[in-house]
């Protein structure tokens, strides 16, 4: 039977035995792809699901594609999901996820694999060389210690891939250690995913890096690989992926470009849309030069990264270009210098394979400790870092090196920042907000949980900072419009209507789900919003692998009726899924599948020891208010007033109420069909989803919700 969208096999790397075998994808087809398949593989292959440190040898790491990867589904062709037990979270490192872009997932599909399941631990440092069906474990002693860029370029050299961009076709038989039969030719370089020193030294900051700037940062997967002596995986593929209805796919792709994206001839640079803008790299500093291009993952409709003529900064964007900004301003003499320092430091974090997200709030805390006189040379928290040079490239590099190699303060911070804070006797910083690590030992993202409820709730009910941008364009777009005094293109009531009309099954046509007013903060409606978001994301974004930056597209001012592409009959997520796979699912079917995956994840967390009593934010969110206007003048969001009238309202100035949140949790658990006393799933809920095997294992562990047998 023809398999559309899928390659048909999952590669199992048994690092202990340094052997590989193929798993039939069909066995896991019900989970869709990406995260869903990864969770299911983890469930089957992890021999001890109670582990709470990703460096435990029983940990299983899955690097998974979706059937849409390697095709032209807009902003879904190039993402890749990573799952496994993480490192460095608090109080438990949950089974967690991360995601990265570029061309790795495309190349893996073309090599004939839907994903990679990694088990065991290699006896010594290795890298894995995948060329179509040929999988070889190679000695990585010459690579260990190298940065991520040097590693990739060395692997290219070891394979015999030509440097540069003006190369002829390379026959796979002509590469070093090449194929012994005709497997075709390629002009492409191998796609490599690698760790750097931060992962080699088993720090919670360790990331997986691909090409110059694609990173799976959250979760400490760099340390997971480091603990398994796995340095890198390289993949080269000359095959292809069959598409069930190629004409429908091309038609839908063209529809997105021609209808939903603003046109190049007369563009609306300020269009309100997630999918429909022109390439707008999310680099957080002024560009260093106009001599540059936008750069994107495979299949993206408008790239979010850049490459430059200046020799630094390639492909870094978003967080890695912003973590150092407030400190660089102290030393930069000009905007050009500000840009250069920030981008050179972005290069450093990429090369070390370091997740700089912790520094977004963490470095302010370290500065605070230094300025208070408790951290520094000869101080209670000893540190020989040149704090007087904070903001310079020199300091930035020394800091990253220390954190990546467990030196200086890196020795304590490597295993988790909250853990380090407690060790240093700084528990009060979690109460005052001096250390803004909001949930599970993860830093606050920039969307304060006291204001943007779905972000905080989704994070705390899950496993990490949720990093799912489905709704917070409401905040950024409206707040920017207010800041500029611009006409509001979509009023509050219309804004929520445009969202909820597409939010079946739990929130369809229920605008109250998006009301974040004080009166509605702990409501059943907001619980439904969080459910919808987590289920949508678990399937459509984390399993089907639609990019979080572009999807869902609820509203779109390029369209006369303002309706975005999400769920639309001509270019919705389901249109693309069905065109590629031959399935006939609806948007809601995908959300239901997401609910199952979310339930499977929760079951893993429960086996790891989760109980509702642990599910709480960092104390500062309950004990301090989100200061009005301090870091930005307002946090605008649609709210209903006491008369039920919708308006954009400033959400700053409040805190979370612990008792209110406890009640909200109970509502959430009930809606999910989980035992509200514990937060554990019940047999009844699991069996309805065809997951009795999960109920059986939870029961054996004495952790099945509801007490039913």
């Amino acid at each position: 039977m023809a398999l559309y969208g899928y390659a048909g096999k999952i590669l199992h790397l048994d690092l202990t035995g340094q052997k590989s075998d193929a798993i039939d994808t069909e066995k896991y087809r019900r989970w869709g792809g990406g995260h869903g398949m990864g969770s299911a593989l983890f469930w089957d292959f992890c021999k001890d699901k109670s582990i709470t440190d990703g460096r435990h040898p029983a940990n299983v790491c899955c690097v998974m594609t979706s059937p849409l990867n390697g095709t032209v589904v807009p902003s879904a062709g190039g993402r890749c999901e990573v799952v496994g037990v993480g490192v460095g979270q608090y109080p438990v490192s949950w089974f967690t996820r991360s995601n990265f872009g570029g061309r790795f997932s495309t190349m893996l599909k073309y090599a004939g694999w839907d994903g990679i399941l990694i088990t065991g631990k290699a006896p010594k440092a290795i890298w894995v060389d995948i060329r179509n069906g040929k999988v070889v474990f190679r000695d990585a002693s010459g690579l260990w210690g190298k940065g991520t860029w040097a590693t990739q370029q060395e692997i290219w050299r070891l394979i015999g891939a030509e440097p540069g961009t003006r190369n002829d076709w390379q026959d796979l038989r002509d590469l070093k250690g090449g194929s012994d039969r005709d497997e075709g030719k390629t002009t492409q370089k191998p796609a490599v995913l690698t760790i750097g020193p931060a992962g080699e030294n088993l720090t919670g900051h360790g990331s997986l890096i691909h090409d110059a700037g694609n990173g799976a940062g959250q979760g400490g997967f760099g340390a997971v690989w480091g603990s398994k002596n796995l340095k890198a995986i390289s993949v080269l593929g000359t095959g292809g992926i069959k598409v069930a209805d190629p004409q429908a796919l091309i038609r839908a792709r063209r529809t997105v470009k021609e209808k939903y994206v603003t046109n190049w001839e007369k563009p609306d640079f300020r269009a309100w849309t997630r999918l429909g803008g022109l390439p707008k790299p999310i680099v957080q500093v002024a560009p260093p030069t106009p001599d540059r291009r936008p750069q994107s993952c495979q299949g993206c409709i408008n790239g979010c990264r850049e490459r430059y003529s200046v020799g630094y900064g390639n492909e870094s964007a978003c967080q890695e270009t912003s973590w150092y900004g407030p400190f660089v301003r102290k030393v930069a003499k000009s905007r050009a210098e500000d840009t250069e320092i920030n981008l050179r430091c972005a290069d450093i974090v990429q090369k070390y394979g370091f997740n700089s997200f912790v520094l977004q709030t963490g470095l302010h805390w370290l500065e605070h400790l230094h300025e208070e006189g408790v951290l520094g040379k000869g101080k209670k928290i000893p540190s020989d870092l040149p704090w007087e040079k904070i903001g310079t490239v020199e300091f930035g590099e020394k800091l990253i090196v220390a954190l990546s190699t467990r030196k200086d303060i890196g020795a304590d911070l490597a295993d988790g920042w909250v853990q380090a804070a407690l060790k240093w006797g700084r528990e009060k910083d979690l109460r005052t907000g001096a250390l803004q690590f909001s949930y599970w030992g993860c830093p606050e993202h920039g969307y304060d949980p006291r204001a943007e409820l779905e972000w905080g709730y989704g994070s705390i009910m899950g496993d990490r900072d949720t990093n799912t941008h489905c709704f917070n364009q409401i905040f950024t777009t409206i707040s920017a419009a207010f800041a500029f005094g611009m006409t509001i293109r979509i009023e509050a009531e219309e804004m929520v209507r445009l969202h909820v009309r597409k939010m079946a099954p739990y929130a369809q046509d229920r605008p109250e789900v998006l009301d974040f007013s004080d009166a509605n903060m702990y409501s059943e409606a907001v619980a439904q919003l969080v459910r919808w978001q987590q289920h949508y994301c678990r399937f459509w974004k984390q399993s089907a692998l639609f990019c979080d930056l572009k999807w869902p597209d609820f509203y779109n001012t390029n369209m006369p009726n303002l309706e975005g592409a999400t769920g639309s009959p001509d270019a919705g997520e389901q249109v693309f899924w069905n065109a590629v796979t031959g399935d006939r699912i609806s948007l809601i079917d995908g959300i239901e599948l997401g609910r199952r995956i979310w339930n499977l994840d929760n079951a893993i967390w429960v086996l790891q020891g989760r109980h509702r009593d642990m599910v709480h934010f960092a104390p500062y969110l309950y004990e301090t208010k989100y200061e009005k206007g301090e870091l930005f003048p307002f946090y605008m969001w649609p709210c209903r007033d006491e008369k039920g009238v919708w308006k954009y309202t400033d959400l700053m100035g409040r805190k979370l109420d612990k008792a209110g949140f406890e009640k909200w949790k109970t509502v959430f658990y009930r809606l999910e069909g989980w035992d509200p006393a514990s937060g554990w799933p019940t047999r009844q809920t699991l069996e309805k989803m065809d997951m009795s095997f999960v109920a059986d294992e939870l029961q054996k562990a004495g952790r099945l919700g509801g007490g039913t047998s």
Binding site: I282, R329, K330, H469, F484, G485
Partner: protein
């Protein structure tokens, strides 16, 4: 009518160009999707000026009325503080207020650098 600020004397100029102690830092964020609101602080007018530099990728986050108080008390430049209050009071929007602040702070920095015999800033 736009009345220029008086040239600061050397002592004031040096305060304008200096960084205030950490305890007197002024909170100042930045909004740039998709990262959200990035926290930060400024400890000098130079840092503030950089923060407020207009670009089409992000928005600075400062409490403009509190800022004038900070300029007066922490930096010690009463004249600039008064100018900030009056010139931004009638700004049509927050962004216009930031732009006005950017201009005034920039002009003040130039005055201060000239007063201490340094080069004008670029």
């Amino acid at each position: 009518m736009n009345v220029p600020m008086t040239i600061p004397d050397e002592a004031l100029a040096r305060r304008i160009l200096a960084a205030v102690p950490y305890k007197d830092r002024f909170p100042a964020g930045r909004l740039r999707p998709p990262v959200g609101i990035l926290p930060g602080t400024v400890r000098s007018l130079h840092e503030l000026h950089l923060l407020l530099t207009p670009d089409d990728r992000s928005l600075p986050g400062v409490n403009l009325s509190a800022l004038a108080d900070w300029v007066e008390k922490a930096v010690g430049d009463g004249e600039l503080a008064r100018k900030l209050r009056t010139d931004t009071a009638n700004a049509a929007s927050y962004v216009e207020g930031c732009l006005k602040t950017y201009e005034l702070v920039g002009a003040r920095l130039v005055q201060a650098r000239t007063a201490v015999g340094g080069e004008e800033s670029s």
